[in-house]
């Protein structure tokens, strides 16, 4: 294939032009001698290679062995594990934590006024129809909890008094 391509004069001319124009552009932006060009595929390559290589080995064996499904499962497990490790490493960095924190902060800053306005609107609408709002129901629930606590304290006090009285009677 490569031989056929190199023997094609049109292709050769196109390739030469492409290389020359790329070099010209690089000179113009001042990066004529880039020591290590950016390789966007580097991140994916290890996982992809890990997934592909064992498949290539299986296919090279000739016949499909009866444990092929088990091998398929094992390969997928390895592939997922490789991804899990790669993602784990990427997420366990200050840069990732900072990025997540920044997005969360932005979302909170944007969400706060929207949430407040929506709650006010809903409260006003409910008040118009004389229906209790969520805030009112929540405060009633809190009052019930407080009442429950008070009752419990009274019960405990009464139980303590009853125990003391029992002790006195026994004596």
């Amino acid at each position: 294939m490569a031989d056929a391509a190199t023997s094609n004069p049109l292709f050769e001319m196109w390739r030469k032009q492409f290389e020359e124009s790329a070099a010209a552009w690089a000179r113009m932006v001042g990066h004529a001698q880039t020591p290590s060009p950016l390789d966007p595929a580097a991140f994916w390559r290890s996982a992809l290679t890990q997934w592909l290589e064992p498949w290539a080995r299986i296919l090279a064996q000739g016949a499909i062995p009866p444990d092929a499904p088990a091998q398929w499962k094992q390969l997928n497990d390895q592939w997922i594990e490789a991804w899990s490790k790669a993602l784990g490493q990427a997420m366990n960095t200050d840069a990732y934590a900072a990025m997540m924190g920044k997005y969360l902060d932005q979302w909170l800053v944007a969400a706060a006024p929207v949430k407040k306005a929506a709650e006010q609107q809903v409260d006003q609408a409910l008040a118009t129809f004389n229906i209790a709002s969520r805030t009112q129901l929540t405060s009633v629930a809190k009052q019930i909890v407080e009442l429950e606590e008070r009752l419990e304290r009274i019960e405990e006090t009464l139980a303590a008094i009853a125990r003391r009285l029992d002790d006195k009677e026994r004596r």
Partner: protein
């Protein structure tokens, strides 16, 4: 070449192996048997998948018989039926929020509660409950100073015992440790920490994400009021993004196995039932524990009582999970060095945060260790 090989496979499946079909030597009977088994498994997989999709049945969880002893707002105390051959009752304190506690009694034959009751323990479970916006004022301090003292008192009253053992799992362990450390007068005979983080400087990924440099807990709680269940879910999914993929792959692989499917259905129900965090609880949990590590550093104060881990002097058993990324073993183990107990032991078992206590591996590795350690001290 790949196409030719695939055609061979199709040919073999269509016409069978060997016997004069002109496709090379006859394969070994063992190979034929293995392929037949695989085909049968795949058929069974399809049947079970069809059943799961068209006729999903609600799994029965939490089947060990129990009675409700006490209720306070959302929190409930349950006592499980058992032979009660051990004198000292055991109070199990699980995590608050995040998930429901029926994971500890998932299904017959796969239940930690069932194991403990069969071993003769008088087993009590504290179910913190499912929280709503009305609970947003509930704080960590309330749990330590109001709920846990009441629960231990109810355990002692209903069992008639003069002391109890406390087992804290996950967040339940720092909650229990905070309670024991700030209430040294409570008659606790034994304390077990299972996968409960203590030294938050070694907490791992969550610790990094919740670092005060990146996460403003006050802004978060002030804006949202509480932490909705969906956000809790998103946080945990983010911790292990490939989890769903591997879960589904394992499901397909084991879909032929009815017992696996039964277990998966129950576990899947639990795994998708997240529980919200009360706002004030979350503020204190993240601020005092993840961000300031107050309990481990001896700076925590609850209801005016200082909580020093060194004041825990009862026998202590700490169980860490080797692949736990929520509470890494080193942050769990830290309890051992912080308490003043003479009788203390640490074991690190295979598995993750959940598989430490739930599932087949747990029934082999973890449960017998816990019940064995506790039995000789109860």
């Amino acid at each position: 070449m790949g196409l030719e090989r695939f055609a061979d496979v199709v040919e073999r499946f269509t016409h069978g192996y060997g016997s004069g079909n002109g496709h090379g030597p006859e394969p070994a009977p063992e190979v034929v048997r293995q392929w037949q088994e695989e085909l049968e498994r795949t058929l069974k997989r399809m049947q079970n998948l069809h059943r799961m999709v068209t006729d999903p049945t609600e799994p029965k969880v939490g089947q060990t018989p129990r009675v409700e002893i006490y209720k306070r707002n959302k929190s409930r105390l349950f006592r499980y039926q058992s032979r009660r051959t051990h004198r000292t009752p055991l109070l199990f304190v699980p995590n608050l929020g995040i998930s429901r506690p029926y994971i500890f009694d998932l299904m017959p034959g796969g239940s930690f509660v069932e194991h403990m009751t069969r071993e003769g323990f008088d087993f009590y479970l504290l179910d913190w409950g499912v929280f709503g916006p009305e609970d947003n004022d509930l704080s960590f301090e309330d749990c330590v100073t109001k709920i846990l003292p009441r629960m231990t008192q109810k355990v002692l009253e209903s069992s008639g015992a003069d002391s109890l053992s406390v087992l804290g799992y996950c967040m339940g362990a720092p909650l229990s440790a905070s309670f024991l450390a700030s209430h040294p007068e409570v008659p606790v005979k034994n304390f077990i920490n299972m996968a409960g983080p203590i030294d938050f400087s070694k907490i791992g990924l969550f610790g990094l994400w919740l670092d005060p440099k990146y996460f403003n807990v006050d802004r978060f709680v002030d804006t949202l009021g509480g932490v909705p269940a969906d956000l809790v879910k998103a946080g945990f999914k983010l911790l292990k993004p490939t989890m769903d993929l591997s879960t589904n792959l394992n499901l397909w692989w084991n879909l032929w196995n009815d017992r696996y499917v039964e277990g998966f259905t129950a576990l899947n129900k639990w795994a998708n039932e997240y529980v919200a965090f009360p706002g004030e609880f979350f503020r204190q949990w993240v601020g005092d524990f993840y961000q300031q590590n107050k309990l481990f550093r001896g700076e925590a104060v609850f209801g005016g009582r200082p909580a020093r881990l060194a004041s825990i002097s009862c026998p202590v058993f700490v169980v860490g999970a080797h692949e736990d990324y929520i509470a890494p073993p080193e942050c769990v183990r830290a309890l051992l060095d912080a308490v003043s107990s003479r009788d203390k032991e640490y074991v690190e078992l295979p598995g993750g945060h959940i598989s430490l206590i739930a599932g087949r591996g747990a029934s082999l590795h973890c449960w017998p260790k816990v019940s064995g350690w506790l039995a000789s001290r109860s």
